[in-house]
Subunit: 210 residues, 2 copies
Amino acid sequence: MKNKGILIIVSGFSGAGKGTVMKKLMSDYDNYALSISATTRGPRTGEQDGREYFFKTVEDFEAMIANDQLIEYAQYVGNYYGTPKAYVEQMLNDGKDVILEIEMQGAMKVKEKMPETLLVFVTPPTAAELKNRLVGRGTEDMATIAARLKRASEETVYMDKYDYLLINDDLDECVKELHGIIQAEHSKVSRNINKINFFREDAKIFSEGE
Amino acid sequence: MKNKGILIIVSGFSGAGKGTVMKKLMSDYDNYALSISATTRGPRTGEQDGREYFFKTVEDFEAMIANDQLIEYAQYVGNYYGTPKAYVEQMLNDGKDVILEIEMQGAMKVKEKMPETLLVFVTPPTAAELKNRLVGRGTEDMATIAARLKRASEETVYMDKYDYLLINDDLDECVKELHGIIQAEHSKVSRNINKINFFREDAKIFSEGE
């Protein structure tokens, strides 16, 4: 009996290192698929439909909303972004574990719709370290960094709404830990009810014929 | 902040290979402690108080029951057997993950008293394989094997009351999987509320002084 894949949402503060963790997870292990978003923004040079994004017209995107074909969606700087249900379902049925990197409000909505989703919250070990990383990147001015930190502080209310807390201290350790969490999740009783029922049926023969 | 250890109950059918799995887990990894039972049966040659068992008089054992000093206990062939709470608590506070190998009714009682206990159910991949192993051991007559199989068939009702289903097909894989399950459990949000609250307090500084 082939296990269905698991949908995993990874969220975390800006500066927590989610992107790096995801990239290493995908390159170190075989069984993962990244969810591909649909968007109404135009493709940039080098972007390919079905690789970076599924590129959609506004009409098509709104039809997807109307037909409940998106797991979640949001608007950002005048464009729609969303997660197509069909693609994710197909990967899950193929036995792939699908990773969806989205922000926290979206994560809560998905969990409501699909309670079997695994929620992982990535955080640096301390708030001071979060600040260090944002400053250390050297890509943003102090006002932008302050805004990101303020947002992180507000986002801490979401931390205990997740299933797992993944502390990104050492990258290698963190990726191994995430992989371990997902592997363990496959052994959850709630994800193995078919196997249990099969075993029960099978074992009935031992109670018969007395 | 040092994490408290996790209490893990391992149960499974007679013939599932629990003993072998436990032995290898203890020898392959450092962070585990096996719970030591208290009993009223006398020590056998070579057995040492506080190593194989805590040896108790009936009076002492019944006083432990009366004073709620046992996590669970049962009577078996005229003797008491039980799990002393103080020893387990001490190991957990030292940060050790404590493994308790007990049968299913006892496991349910412990989970009721201590809901943060992790329940792992060990099973061979199939009912046929369970029979093969019991027959293959060659240590019991067919009537005893039939009785064990009948009991296993009845015990399947407990399978979905556990947290994790551990399929013991390949020993090495099985031990790694069990270790992985326990490791992942340490990252559960519910086991990291202190860290989350600490981070929240710490991050407050980013919302202040606007």
